[in-house]
């Protein structure tokens, strides 16, 4: 699904900047292109500028500089109600003084649709979210999940080409959230709607999206499909932010093509892929996922470097084992192993050797 064909770009941000106070930039030089039908998630910690981007796209904030285009046309000067973008808000923003059916009919009514047409569309939208019997109720009479579905139906009922969602599942409990994640992606793909989804929950981002834009400090740190993002983070922020991650600090000792050797601060050396290190002697932070660490040295390349480690803690988590180690002075080095019948259960105090495939370990910026 990942597409970077700029010729069929549907949503485009070009060199967009945003400042509220004239002193600091909340969004710094944002460039983004999105093809039609894509589900793109803006992920980032709070204050990273992701919601501001969404609001600029919706038209509630104006870009301080740069161009935002929708379907090839600049929408900078178009007021929100003429953009025809559906939006789902964090707290659903269902109008409390209207019934569910009236809420859904509202966008159709302001588009001056006939009553019969309105009723037809409202019914279809309610059926789509499986809430057909709830038309006569008020929002306050519905549960959170039901309100969420209605908000979704309302954003879709006037058939917009682009739908924006601003942390729509934030108020739901875990189970419901997972169910809704599935429903939303399903619906978006079935209807072929282009969706921009904002969240600070990385699991949500990974499970739902075609592509994820990781925001930090007003910039997109990495824009990639979930698997690329997880397996090939391009900088240490992304590596830290997405999933669990072990880091070790050191100095680049030698670079050979797409392989490098890093000397850790305690003198041990390891193999890594140079991602954003370019020369020998540079400080680097190497990143390795807990599940890619191997302690059965037989499985490693014979010439691979290994590190010595001491087991500090063994946690049984059912499907996996989580073992905390001390590696090169880092006491928070975690490895995860599957709970398979032949799996070794390490004991605290045990001294072991660990290593990994060089391509799983990435040497990033310090």
């Amino acid at each position: 699904m990942a597409a970077d064909s700029s010729n069929d770009a549907f949503v485009e941000f070009e060199r967009v900047q945003k400042s509220y106070d004239g002193e600091t930039l909340v969004v710094k030089d944002l460039n983004l292109t999105m093809p039609k039908g894509e589900f793109l998630t803006m992920l980032g910690p709070s204050g990273s500028g992701k919601t501001t981007c969404l609001m600029m796209l919706a038209g509630f904030e104006t870009a301080t500089h740069g161009d935002i285009r929708l379907g090839g046309k600049s929408i900078n000067g178009i007021p929100p109600h003429k953009r025809g973008i559906g939006m789902v808000f964090q707290n659903y923003a269902l109008f409390p003084h209207m019934t569910i059916a009236e809420n859904l009919a509202f966008p159709l009514e302001v588009r001056k649709m006939s009553k019969a047409e309105r009723e037809e569309k409202v019914k279809r939208a309610l059926d789509m979210v499986e809430m057909g019997d709830f038309g006569g109720r008020r929002p306050a009479q519905l549960s959170g999940g039901q309100q969420q579905r209605i908000a979704l139906a309302r954003a879709l009922v006037f058939e917009p080409e682009l739908v924006l969602m601003d942390e729509p599942l934030g108020a739901l409990d875990k189970q419901l959230r997972e169910k809704m994640q599935f429903e939303i992606t399903h619906l978006a793909h079935r209807l072929g709607i282009t969706t921009v989804y904002v969240t600070h929950d990385q699991t949500e981002a990974l499970t739902m999206s075609d592509r994820v834009a990781v925001f930090d400090d007003g910039r997109i740190q990495q824009l990639a499909s979930p698997d690329q993002l997880y397996e090939s983070p391009e900088n240490s922020f992304v590596a830290q932010f997405i999933g669990e991650n072990n880091t070790l600090e050191g100095v680049v000792e030698q670079i050979k093509g797409n392989k490098c050797v890093v000397k850790l601060d305690d003198g041990e050396v390891l193999d890594a892929v140079p991602v954003n290190v370019s020369k020998v002697g540079e400080r680097t932070r190497v990143s390795i996922r807990p599940e890619r660490v191997e302690y059965n040295t037989d499985r490693l390349d014979p010439d691979a470097h290994t590190l010595s480690a001491e087991v500090l803690e063994f946690i049984y988590m059912g499907d996996i084992f989580r073992t905390r180690l001390r590696v090169a002075g880092n006491e928070d080095f975690v490895i995860k192993t599957r709970n398979a019948p032949d799996q070794v259960r390490l004991k605290p105090g045990q001294k072991i050797k660990i290593g990994w495939m060089a391509e799983d370990c990435r040497a990033l910026d310090a």
């Binding site: 007021p79 929100p80 109600h81 953009r83 109008f95 509202f106 006037f158």
Partner: protein, 554 residues
């Protein structure tokens, strides 16, 4: 399990659970009560009780029967529909009742009270009050000529005091107490003789009244004081009865000699005719109108004040509309309601945008604006109203600016004050915060995402506001309107200062009756009606809008 659902639940100590719970909660309730007790007492003593007593005045009318107790009783027989005057007996009672009242200076109060119902009665009572002594002296002088002893206070005391008259003394004391409002208690060193009370009833009664007054109010000794002229009048009247004269002939007690002299010279005494005497004092006494008024208002409780307050009057012929040129209150009520409505409307129109700004501006700016809204609260109401006077008058700031700008001709300066316009302008300004604050607190709870949602769904700014925002702010409008309307309807200071005659409210009239005309009964009746109107409107509001929909805050 079925037995547990039918039996009452039992607590661990074996008592019914309900009882245990009530016991456990009682302490809390008592403590809560103790906490509010000081305020409750304060409010009761300084607020509720005075208001209740004030409201009670709107029907209370005991002044007539307290001041003229015997006259009122005697007048019951009289039929006001006949063109005949009440008979001599009524006038006789009137004389003795009025004499007492005049001594206690209560007769002019009664005159004032009856003057509310029939103009001119005040002066009748005052003029007559001055003539009561003369009416008695007519008998005093001849009696003193007949026997020197009648000049002597000690002689009267000796003649009329004795024993057995305690009952008479106490009944007279009760009447005094009702008249003056004091208890009139205490030993007065005089007990009327029951023998004299039988033989000379009017004399003894008048002397007993005199004795009580002399001792309790003037703190003198009865025996040392010369009796009232009314006592002589009483004796003259008693002597008119042949039976009394015969009894005196066989009487041998104190003062027998003087009394026998009086009987012997009976023909030297003028004939007792109180009706003629009153007619001479003031002609009004021999008109049936006057007596009809006294009779109608002799009851202890009267609807008269309330009728007055709605431009009706109680006449001997029943309830009637007042003459057209005296009808002012209904019009005033209507104007008060209408102007309160207009003021409420202007407050909504002016306050809504300000409240919206307050709720939507960034915190810092909103706080500054809030201070500006609250600023009037920190300024004296009187100062604010007076400032409006400076602004609104014909040579005032607003007119000057309009003339200077050329909008208004110098010769035709706008009349913005001393009329309804002035009241509406000034009161809208003064009551505006009461509209803004509840509106603000409601608007603060409407998330901005509603407006955004509406716009993202395709609504223009106006549609989004009108269809989504406004309906949710209606509870705030309701709360503000109730506050402003109820405050406006009872407003006093501002209409008084800038209202002139066209811009005053019913409350100004109430204040006038409280402090100037002293017709507290009418003031109380007007106030009660105002209270009822407010309660009825509140009830109607609750029925139509629902008081649950009113929000004063989050």
């Amino acid at each position: 399990m079925s037995d547990t659902t039918q039996e009452p639940m039992i607590a661990a100590d074996g008592r019914p659970l309900k009882q245990s719970l009530a016991r456990a909660l009682r302490r809390q309730k008592l403590r809560a009560l103790a906490l509010i007790a000081p305020l409750l007492l304060f409010v009761m003593v300084t607020f509720i009780i005075p208001i209740l007593s004030m409201l009670f005045r709107s029907v209370e009318n005991q002044i007539v029967s307290n001041t003229l107790p015997h006259t009122v009783v005697a007048l019951q027989e009289w039929d006001s529909a006949q063109s005949e005057l009440p008979d001599e007996e009524v006038f006789r009672h009137l004389y003795f009742d009025l004499f007492k009242a005049a001594e206690a200076k209560e007769h002019s109060r009664l005159g004032t009270r009856l003057n509310y119902e029939k103009t001119g009665l005040s002066s009748v009572f005052r003029t007559t009050g001055r003539r009561l002594d003369d009416m008695g002296e007519v008998f005093q002088d001849p009696l003193e000529d007949i026997n020197e002893n009648f000049k002597n206070g000690a002689f009267w005391y000796e003649m009329l005091s004795g024993e057995g008259g305690e009952e008479l003394l106490e009944s007279r004391r009760t009447l005094w107490a009702r008249l003056t409002g004091d208890s009139m208690a205490g030993d007065i060193g005089f007990v009327p003789s029951s023998q004299m009370a039988d033989m000379l009833p009017w004399t003894t009664r008048a002397y007993t009244d005199f004795a009580i007054w002399t001792v309790v109010e003037e703190e003198d000794v009865v025996a040392e004081e010369d009796p009232w002229e009314a006592v002589y009048a009483g004796l003259a009247y008693d002597l008119q009865s042949e039976e009394t004269r015969a009894n005196i002939a066989s009487y041998g007690g104190p003062g027998a000699e003087a009394l026998k002299d009086a009987v012997a010279n009976f023909d030297k005494l003028p004939k007792v005719d109180f009706k003629a005497a009153f007619a001479e004092a003031k002609e009004d006494w021999v008109t049936t109108d006057l007596w009809a008024t006294v009779q109608v208002f002799s009851a202890d409780y009267t609807p008269g004040y309330f009728l007055n307050a709605v431009d009706l009057e109680l006449t001997p012929e029943g309830v009637q509309a007042k003459p057209e040129n005296q009808q002012i209150y209904m019009q005033l009520f209507m104007r008060t309601l209408w102007m309160a409505l207009v003021i409420t409307g202007s407050c909504i129109v002016l306050g809504y945008p300000v409240a919206w700004l307050l709720a939507n501006l960034p915190m810092r700016t909103a706080n500054t604006l809030m201070i500006l809204v609250l600023l009037p609260f920190w300024t004296s109401l009187l100062v604010r109203t007076s400032a409006w006077k400076v602004l609104l008058q014909q040579q005032g700031v607003i007119n000057d600016i309009l003339v200077w700008l050329g909008f208004v001709d110098d010769a035709n300066r706008l009349i913005l004050m001393n009329n309804a316009t002035g009241t509406i302008i000034a009161m809208t300004h003064i009551l505006l915060p009461f509209m803004i604050l509840p509106l603000y607190s409601v608007m603060k709870t409407i998330p901005p995402s509603y407006l955004r949602a509406a716009k993202s769904l395709g609504a223009t700014n106006w549609t989004a506001f009108w269809r989504v925002y406004f309906p949710q702010s209606v509870p705030g409008i309701g709360a503000g309107s109730i506050l402003v309307f109820i405050l406006a309807i009872g407003y006093y200071i501002t209409p008084e200062i800038v209202g002139g005659t066209d811009g005053i409210f019913i409350s100004n009239r109430i204040a006038y009756h409280i402090s100037s005309s002293l017709n507290w009964g009418l003031a109380a009746a007007l106030g009660s009606i105002l209270l009822v109107v407010v309660l009825v409107l509140y009830w109607a509001y609750d029925k139509i809008v629902g008081i649950d929909n009113v929000k004063l805050g989050g």
